[in-house]
Structure formats: structure tokens, C-alpha cells
């Protein structure tokens, strides 16, 4: 999102918060959690609520950055439709070989870690993510 017609990027925090000690508003029986599917993590697409946390946002950010880098969804291999890419994420497949190669050639392997299908394999701390980016950029 950009500020009016300028090239100043605008980040919006909608200020959605929830008391973790209270019960959830999102029903567990929903097959799909609330999300923008194209930039969603597997745990959102599968409504695996127990897996949703800050690392879910990390995945979304990784997808956005990957999209900016390559112009396509990191899980979207050649000849794949958008829906197939979303399905690949939901099925916890690996990202496309094309994206892996591009990320490596750009010295941005950190993006691959950000979009690991399982949260435990993503950065466990925002500080580690920042450190890795700073080393590379």
C-alpha cells in the first residue's frame, strides 16, 4: 500500500487484538481460517488454530517479499494456476524450484526459511530474522 500517489510505502496495523485467556472468536470447525488465501500460511488455510502465531505473519511477509523479488508466488511453479499454488501451501509442499534458485542467486535464502511450511522451521525469534536479513542486505 502506498501513500496516495507517492512512492512512500504505508504499513497499516489494524489494531486487532485478542485476550489469549478468553475463548477464540474463530470457530475451529471452519475448514478455512480468516485470511487472504494468496498470501496465507498453511496453518491459516487449514484453520490449524493451534499453529497460528507470529510465525504465521512471518510466512505471509516472506510470501510478499518473495513475490516482490520474483513477480510470482513462491509456491507457484511454472504451469501452475494461482489456486494450485494456494493448494501447494495448504498441503505443506515445498516452494517452487524456480523460487529456490532465484532466492539463492539473490543471496536471500532467508526467504526460504520464512516460508517453511511448518512454523517450527521458520525463524523462532524476530531478532534472528532481522540479523539474517542484515547480514545479506
Amino acid at each position: 500500500m502506498f501513500h496516495r500517489s507517492s512512492d512512500v510505502p504505508l504499513f497499516v496495523d489494524f489494531g486487532l487484538v485478542r485476550d489469549l485467556l478468553k475463548s477464540s472468536l474463530t470457530q475451529s470447525w471452519n475448514p478455512l481460517g480468516p485470511c487472504t488465501p494468496f498470501f496465507a500460511a498453511p496453518e491459516q488455510l487449514n484453520n490449524d488454530k493451534a499453529l497460528i502465531g507470529w510465525r504465521t505473519d512471518q510466512f505471509g511477509l516472506g510470501l510478499v517479499l518473495g513475490y516482490c523479488l520474483t513477480g510470482s508466488h513462491p509456491y507457484q511453479a511454472r504451469n501452475m494456476t494461482t489456486n494450485q499454488a494456494i493448494q501447494a501451501v495448504a498441503n505443506k509442499q515445498n516452494c517452487s524450484d524456480e523460487f529456490k534458485a532465484l532466492a539463492k542467486s539473490a543471496n536471500l535464502e532467508c526467504l526460504l526459511k520464512m516460508i517453511e511450511p511448518w512454523p517450527v522451521r521458520r525463524y523462532s525469534d524476530p531478532q534472528y530474522l532481522l540479523e539474517d536479513f542484515r547480514k545479506r542486505i
Binding site: L51, W118, V120, D125
Partner: protein, 393 residues
């Protein structure tokens, strides 16, 4: 890192014992002693050395006898009837536990967890939240908080399930992880299911990859595999029921009676009874007795004891001989390339069992035949293939 000593009934005298210097951590056991006694022991341990003293609140079983646990100020009076999934209830328990922990001279606390009836994602989410509550309460103290993770080993045979558990429990800011594997296999017996072992190793590896230390509690000889998987440290104790997590510790009077002495032999990676040690020695298999890391101060004491006082009990020596082996293995595998080292040890041990079998040398204990080593080797090969040849990005 180094080995951790799991306290049980009457185990304090092993801290600072000769040839057990590799133990630099102590996991306290409230169930076995009163709060006053626990406090006194901590002071004694602090005088003996610079130990990482870990408090395990041991709230594992709501409905059990629990030894001295009821005497502890954090023990919930409504523990038998409360809804364990209620975080507001845990808030209060964790607050009481925090106050107690701060009053002790400990360095680490592991988060309280209950062994569930059903191992589902909701359970692990609650465990993760409890850990986060404890961490929040202790953020201004020097006490490290490790998240306790109880894992049913049969659940870990499903890789997706294992990854799901690892993903949920790693969603905390805790300083490390304390893993307890839960299994139906009796403490004396070795784990022998390749897929279970592989699952345990994978869970350790996935958590270790989050750049936080992983302490595996209640280990026996299978700790070789846990170290190969990357465990920062493993804990064990003098009794078999400390070397495997058992409910019986929280149900029966915690006494140490009725036990047989066992020697731990590195050449076979097995526990041996006295008759079997003598059988090896008297059948020209001296080269399989007291080898490598089981050749320690206590093994020499035992052998000399067999000669000088053959009728006298050697249970106390046997605990020390095993503990010495464990501590030395822990250090050796922390300072070397552990996977090839463990592969070599397992291969050699299995070959030694074949030699014994070829020579019709059969041990008194029928199931003590080394057959578990095949599944240990298979689990390690699979682990190596998965994690060292195609490591995650």
C-alpha cells in the same frame, strides 16, 4: 553441555561423588522430599559446586498419591477436580509456583504440565501458554524458564504429528525446552521401535534448530541417540524409574528397595547382571568387559569387590558405574561429531552381540540379547539421511 542428575529418593549423596564430575546439572524432585528438605539440599549443592539446579514442579498426575507434593505452596488444593484447560486457573498456580521458585536458590525452572488423557493440539497449546505465563512472571529474575514438553512416543511415529507438536510447543519465548518422552515400555527395557526412536530424535532436532537448548529428561542408554540428534543435555538417575518417566513414581511409596545391581557395558551397550559379567570373564571374553567409557573408577571398584567380597551387595556401586558411563558419554558426544561416533559404537556393539551368539554365550536375562541395537542403528541411519543430507533451509 554436560549431564544432568535426576534426583529421586535418597539421591543427594551422589552429587559431587567421585568420578561423576561430568554432572553439572541437577533436576530436583519435590515428590521425594519436603519443601524444607528441598531447600536445605539446594544449599548443600551450591556449596559443592556450580550446578545448574532445575526445579521440576512435578504436577504431572492430578489423581495420584504424589509423595510430598501436597506440602508444596504451589500445589493446587483443587488439583483433582479442576478444569486443567482453564488458563485463568493456571495463572494462579503459576503465580504460586513463581513465588516459590524465587524463594529458592535455583537457576532454572521447567514449566508445569499435566500428563493428558488425549494428546491433541489443544493440550500442547495450553502447555505452551502455561510456559509463557511462567516466563512472564519470571522475566525480571535470573531464573531460566524451560518449556516442558511431554510427548507420547507413539504419536511421534507420524512425522506430520511430530512437526505439529514441535510447531506448537516452540511458539514460546522460553529459554529452552525440557522434553519428557512417555512410553509404555518398562524402565528396564530398551526402546526397540525404530519409528518411535526416529520420531523422538526428530522432535529433539526440530526444537534444537530453534536455537534454544534442549534438555531431555529421564534418559537411559538410548541417550546416545538423543545426543546424536542434537540434544544439549540429557538427564538420568540412579534408579530405573528415574531413567524412564513412570507414573509409578507418583503413586507408590518412593523407596529404593527390591532392585538388582546392573553393570553398564559399553562394548554391548547393555545392562548386565552379575552372573553375566562373570560369564563373560570366565569364557575368555575379558575384552568385552570394562571397555571404553564403562572402564571407569566404579567399574574397577566393582571388579575388585567381586574378588575381595563376592557375597556382598554392590547395588550402590552399580548405580555409580552406570552414572559414570552416562556422564562420560554425554561429554564425549558433546565435544565430537556425534553421529559417526554413535554409529560406530552401535555397529561395534551389535557385532559383539553376534560374536557372543556365535559362541552360544547366553545371558541369564532372556531378553538381554542386544536385538534393540538393530532398530537403534536403523533410526540413526534414517535420521542422518533426513537431517544431514537434506537439511532444512
Amino acid at each position: 553441555m554436560s549431564a544432568y542428575h535426576h534426583m529421586g529418593h535418597d539421591t543427594e549423596n551422589l552429587i559431587g561423588e567421585n568420578d561423576l564430575e561430568e554432572y553439572t546439572g541437577i533436576i530436583l524432585s519435590p515428590v521425594n522430599r519436603s519443601p524444607e528438605s528441598l531447600r536445605d539440599h539446594i544449599n548443600v549443592f551450591r556449596e559443592k559446586g556450580d550446578y545448574d539446579i532445575v526445579l521440576d514442579p512435578q504436577l504431572y498426575f492430578p489423581k495420584s498419591e504424589r509423595g510430598s507434593l501436597r506440602e508444596y505452596p504451589y500445589f493446587p488444593p483443587d488439583f483433582d477436580t479442576v478444569d486443567m484447560t482453564s488458563l485463568p486457573w493456571w495463572e494462579n498456580t503459576v503465580k504460586l509456583l513463581t513465588d516459590f521458585a524465587i524463594s529458592l536458590n535455583i537457576s532454572t525452572i521447567v514449566s508445569p504440565v499435566v500428563q493428558p488423557k488425549i494428546w491433541n493440539t489443544d493440550y500442547y497449546s495450553v502447555c505452551s501458554s502455561i510456559s509463557q505465563l511462567l516466563l512472564g512472571n519470571l522475566q525480571n529474575s535470573d531464573i531460566r524458564v524451560f518449556s516442558t514438553i511431554m510427548a507420547n512416543v507413539t504419536e511421534l511415529t507420524d512425522t506430520s504429528k511430530m512437526m505439529e507438536i514441535a510447531s506448537i510447543v516452540s511458539d514460546t519465548d522460553s529459554d529452552g525446552f525440557y522434553i519428557i518422552f512417555v512410553s509404555d515400555i518398562e524402565p528396564r527395557r530398551e526402546f526397540s521401535d525404530e519409528t518411535e526412536l526416529y520420531g523422538m530424535m526428530s522432535l529433539i532436532k526440530e526444537l534444537q534448530n530453534t536455537r534454544r537448548p534442549v534438555l531431555v529428561g529421564h534418559c537411559s542408554s538410548e541417550m546416545l541417540l538423543f545426543k546424536a540428534a542434537g540434544a544439549s543435555a540429557c538427564s538420568t538417575g540412579k534408579f530405573f524409574n528415574l531413567r524412564r518417566f513412570t507414573k509409578s513414581r507418583y503413586e507408590e511409596p518412593a523407596i529404593g528397595g527390591g532392585q538388582l545391581p546392573y553393570w553398564f557395558e559399553h562394548s554391548l551397550l547393555a545392562f548386565l547382571r552379575e552372573a553375566d559379567i562373570i560369564r563373560l570373564l570366565s569364557n575368555n571374553f575379558q575384552d568385552l568387559v570394562s571397555t571404553h567409557l564403562s572402564d571407569n573408577y566404579w567399574s574397577k571398584e566393582i571388579l575388585s569387590h567381586f574378588e575381595s567380597e563376592p557375597e556382598k551387595a554392590w547395588l550402590a556401586l552399580s548405580w555409580r558405574q552406570y552414572l559414570s558411563w552416562f556422564g562420560k558419554v554425554e561429554v564425549e558426544l558433546s565435544t565430537s561429531d556425534s553421529i559417526p561416533t554413535v554409529q560406530k559404537w552401535l555397529k561395534e556393539a551389535e557385532e559383539n552381540w553376534w560374536v557372543l551368539d556365535d559362541n552360544d554365550l547366553l545371558f541369564d536375562e532372556q531378553r538381554n540379547d542386544g536385538k534393540w541395537l538393530r532398530s537403534w542403528r536403523q533410526a540413526l541411519v534414517k535420521f542422518k539421511k533426513t537431517y544431514t543430507q537434506s537439511s532444512p533451509a
